[in-house]
């Protein structure tokens, strides 16, 4: 169509439209209707007065807290993809093991004097245990399941990752049982505080602060340390990095360990927010975090966090804001539909994610 020799007459814009190939035209229709649906739904919801301003602000806070957890898990997907161009599908299980470790350590600590007198110190101990455990599992995965397959076609480690995911799930199910584990109550995290009109649950505040702190620490680790520079170099070009004297294997192992530690921290935060964990808890958050990583731009550290926050907010606000405004019944049942539609829409508008992919050399 684009090579039509005779350009139709008329104003420039109209001529452009007529020269668009069919697929582009279709994508434009999708884009325009998506914007119309969102605007109409949001307008109806906001003008109906169904939810108060306070409740809308609550939904935003819930979204940011949930998104922070997604973001922390997404870092692991994104970092590994950046270095190896491969999706570590067992990463959700590394997160679940962090949450499980958190359950066992916090249950053991919950009767002690430390837990009562200095709860945050207690939580910090639990956090270190979760991060260590998850980092060790991620290191083991890399050493046993992925390193022997390095250099093989990309499909092979990918299938292995799925197998490793099932292996970890059912190992945990066999060792610790399939029942739901209930986290002990942490009285200091009960209740909420008000900040500038936003009512924030204390446990959500902890999640958001912890995620921001870890994000900043990771940023400095990657940008300012020798180990971080080695990671960036390996991500850019493995062969050249090796010629420059970088120990590629060790650097890759380090990437897995750091990603695993972040997932472990996310596991503990998940446990504190939802108070329940079982062997299957890693599956859905893992998928959502992978979505976040793609949404923000895979391989991009900041993008993982932005993608997580976006996805969390869309999940939290989308059903109430858009679907209920369009009179769709039982809108919250469609939360996951909203989340994955958001992914499709973002990729239609910006195919490389919100902040853009950051993948050196050959693309995945």
């Amino acid at each position: 169509m684009a090579e039509t020799p005779l350009a139709p007459k008329g104003p420039l814009a109209a001529r452009r439209v007529l020269q668009l190939p069919l697929v582009d035209g279709f994508l434009w229709v999708v884009r325009i209707s998506a914007v119309v649906v969102i605007v109409v739904g949001a307008y109806n919801s906001l003008t109906s007065g169904r939810l108060s301003g306070q409740q809308w602000r609550d939904l935003i806070v819930f979204g940011i807290a949930q998104g922070s957890i997604y973001g922390l898990i997404a870092l692991g997907y994104s970092m590994v993809y950046g270095v190896l161009r491969f999706i570590n599908f067992a990463h959700g299980e590394v997160f679940m093991i962090g949450a499980m470790t958190g359950y066992y350590v916090s249950s053991a600590l919950s009767g002690t004097a430390l837990w009562r007198s200095a709860p945050f110190a207690g939580l910090f101990v639990v956090l270190l245990c979760c991060m260590t455990m998850s980092a060790l599992v991620a290191l083991g995965l890399e050493r046993i399941a992925y390193r022997p397959l390095r250099g093989k076609p990309r499909l092979i480690p990918f299938i292995t990752a799925i197998g490793a995911s099932f292996f970890l799930q059912y190992t945990v199910a066999t060792l610790f049982g399939v029942d739901v584990k209930a986290y002990p109550a942490v009285p200091v995290l009960d209740g909420s505080i008000s900040v500038g009109g936003f009512r924030i649950l204390r446990v959500h505040l902890l999640v958001i602060v912890a995620a921001v702190v870890m994000m900043i620490a990771l940023y400095f680790y990657i940008e300012k340390t020798r180990a971080g520079r080695a990671m960036r170099a390996v991500a850019e070009d493995q062969e050249t990095a090796r010629l420059m004297g970088i120990d590629v294997d060790r650097t890759i192992a380090r990437v897995f360990a750091v990603g695993g530690a972040m997932a472990g921290a996310a596991g503990l935060l998940f446990g504190l927010v939802f108070q329940n964990v079982n062997f299957f808890s890693g599956f859905l958050p893992g998928i959502k975090a992978f979505t976040s990583a793609v949404l923000g731009g895979i391989g991009n550290i900041l993008g993982a966090m932005v993608g997580g926050l976006t996805l969390g907010s869309v999940e939290s606000l989308g059903p109430s804001l858009v679907l209920s405004g369009l009179d769709i019944p039982a809108a919250h049942q469609l939360k996951d539909v909203v989340a994955f539609s958001a992914l499709v829409l973002v990729l239609i508008f910006r195919p490389t994610g919100i902040l853009g992919e950051r993948v050196g050399g050959e693309r995945g």
Binding site: R50, L51, S52, Q55, D58, L59, F62, G63, Q66, D179, V180, A182, S192, L201, F270, F274, Q275, N276, N278, S281, L284, E315, S316, L317, P319, S320, S324, P329, A330, A331, H332, Q333, L334, K335, D336
Partner: protein
Amino acid sequence: MSGHRSLVAPAVISVIALIAAACAPDDEEAAPEEFSPGPLGAVTVAPDDPIMIGVIQAISGDTASLGVDQVRAIDLAIADRGGELLGHPVETQVEDDACLAEGGTTAAQALVANPQVMGVLGTSCSGAAVPAMEILAETGIATISGSNTSPALTSDLEGTQGAANQPGYFRTSHNDVVQGQAAAEFAFTELGAQRAATIHDGDPYTEGLATAFGTSFTELGGEVVLATAISKGDTDMRPVLTEVAAATPDIVFFPIFQPEADFIVQQAKDFPALAETQKMMGADGLLSDTFVVIPQTEGMYFSGPATPTGSAYEDFVAAYQAEFGEAPIQAFHAHSYDAANMLMDAVEEVAVEEDDGTLQIDRQALMDQLYATEDFEGLTGTLTCDEFGDCADPKIDIVQNTAEQQTIDQVRGNVLFTFEPGE
């Protein structure tokens, strides 16, 4: 050549047998009980052969206790008759449906493949019953469930056939229309609630029950201010609870399962409008020992089938305990015990015994006999079947979990309100 010769003997025998069979009616012309099978065929039980009952229950997976409890009750019902029916031993073929639609299909196919199966007791879950009944109805096998409650399997109790109703399907458990009525009646008249919100999770059982509650609550004069749903696997319930809180309900009815219900009660405590646990109401799916121990369920109400009373039931529980070393573990054992007895009673009525002791059980006659069940005295009450297969004498209890109740049995015993339709 030997191949040909070996065929001769069977051929001769079958010719003789055919002639004998053709002549037989002439020989016994005076016999009062001449048997000819009906349109669905018949099950022929040779002398000394066992009568086979198929059992489809969830005996593995999350809901295993629901099925195991009923399999035990069926075994007890058979043992109470000395393991015999009309001089034939009774045997069961137990198939697992795992409470899944796929499991229902597989189990039904396994039973249909055995021509000796004369009736089926099951399934445990409504979701498994829908595909299982499509297969069993095609073969004309009468099926009685002791724990399916979805209105779709029978009718709405007002004469409209359910979408998944099949000929030959019966149940001794309540129809969820009744449970919805019970919960709505309690919320509206006893608690004085005017505004209700319902939450289901898309499962046929939860959606049917939430809808039945909403219908009854509206009929009573209340208003359903929000009918919403979550999906299985959700953990963050705060967004949906924000909507529920904004609707300012007096009662929130969520007949769903664990762990989603755990998240709802734990997260509801942060919403001032929902913090009172007396506004929360669940159903029989949540009457489990792991749910009632959650601190935020203290004060909550639950609807569920009433525990039967009477000396016959006490004897049954004693026998159960003696046989299996623990008290009944779920709510539907008595219903399955009644189902087994209804089926065996019907067989006693319709089975035709031939002179040599062969038993002929006509499938159509068995079904007709079950549809005609009237005033059957069972553990769960006096059962009468309607044209869609609902046979229950439903009694629904509303119980409350308070600080005094420690175990699930104590919660079940803390009955505030008992509902029987037609009162």
